[in-house]
């Protein structure tokens, strides 16, 4: 098995799965019925994407591996998502600011992946990029509304951005697997993605009257070494409970 490719697929799938799980936590408690449905829709898009990445990863791994075993039977240190997507939802502004930062990156990444030298990755990305394009637009529009809305919404959006900004850069900082993917023509040069990402976000935050904070601690190693925040364990505990308590349960 090509372990680099496997790890690369986990990075893609785990980001989608964990953010999807987080967004689905809004089901039933979002500020408006319409937002409830929108966030759940986005979450379900992401779960669908995760499933496709995991199908490919499971084929590579062979044996008894399936998308379900990859999602439900790995422990936190084996997950390769970035720390950003596992952070708690917080208030609505926290969720939206996390989403606009991640989705802007995710859209640029998937646009580049449609050109991947790996045709399977290119095909999955081509399908996902339409969904992610909508996610990015939805979160951008909400960022503009919150930033330019009332004094309270502006303050909450600015605080959300301040709180989360340190986590923004992990996805854009190449790890060993990203270097491998770039050399193999499978994934993009993250430095190039980063400059487009920064330009896009600068424009959005400027339009939303939000100040970009100075990044503090940015040396995060969740996607490259599985060093996560404490939050991921709680997500997995809830998400994996049934498969752990009743192995091979189906419904």
């Amino acid at each position: 098995m090509n372990n680099n490719l496997y790890q690369y697929l986990l990075q893609l799938g785990d980001n989608a799965l964990i953010l999807g799980q987080r967004l689905c936590e809004w089901t039933g408690v979002a500020p408006e019925l319409e937002i409830d449905l929108a966030l759940s829709n986005i979450g379900l898009d992401l779960l669908g994407q995760a499933n496709q990445w995991y199908e490919y990863a499971a084929e590579l791994k062979g044996g008894d591996a399936t998308p379900d075993t990859i999602a439900f039977l790995r422990d936190a240190h084996e997950y390769r998502n970035v720390q950003l997507v596992e952070l708690p939802n917080g208030n609505f502004a926290d969720t939206i600011l996390r989403a606009v930062i991640f989705d802007t990156f995710n859209l640029l990444l998937h646009e580049a992946l449609t050109q991947s030298s790996d045709q399977r990755i290119g095909a999955i990305a081509a399908r996902a990029v339409k969904e992610i394009g909508y996610h990015a637009r939805y979160c951008k529009n909400w960022t503009l509304r919150l930033g330019g809305g009332t004094e309270e919404s502006h303050q909450k959006a600015q605080k959300a951005l301040n709180d989360i900004w340190d986590y923004a850069f992990e996805a854009l900082t190449p790890g060993p697997v990203d270097h491998w993917a770039k050399e193999a023509g499978i994934g993009p040069d993250l430095e190039q993605v980063k400059s487009k990402w920064e330009a896009t976000l600068q424009q959005v935050f400027h339009q939303a009257s939000l100040q970009i904070p100075k990044p503090g601690f940015v040396d995060r190693k969740a996607k490259s070494e599985g060093i996560h925040t404490e939050h991921l364990g709680y997500i997995l505990a809830e998400m994996q409970f049934l498969q752990r308590a009743y192995p091979n349960l189906q419904w």
Binding site: E32, L33, L37
Partner: protein
């Protein structure tokens, strides 16, 4: 968010058909209304075009006037084009 206006949503299910009223929703502005309509009313592949209009912009007939407006048409069956022989080539009329 309680003061968000109500919007009426019209969805066209296929090219060539017309937009049909799908329901209503709350949104702060037209852009949000389109996004919300997409998420609320097209998540099961119901459409390929959305119209939204503020509910307050719709002018409706008065139910009290129902008899006056509509009763007269009920007895005029000759206004339906059912008395013609249609050629077979005409499928939909």
């Amino acid at each position: 968010m309680k003061d968000w206006p109500l919007w009426e949503v019209f969805i066209r299910s296929k090219n060539g058909l017309h937009h049909k009223h799908a329901g209503s929703l709350h949104a702060a502005d037209a852009q949000m209304a389109i996004e919300n309509a997409r998420d609320v009313y097209t998540r099961r592949n119901e459409g390929n075009s959305i119209w939204v209009v503020k509910s307050t912009d719709i002018v409706a007939s008065d139910p009290e006037d129902g008899d006056m407006l509509f009763e007269a048409a009920k007895s005029k069956i000759y206004r339906h084009p059912t008395f013609y022989q249609l050629p077979d080539e005409v499928n939909n009329m």
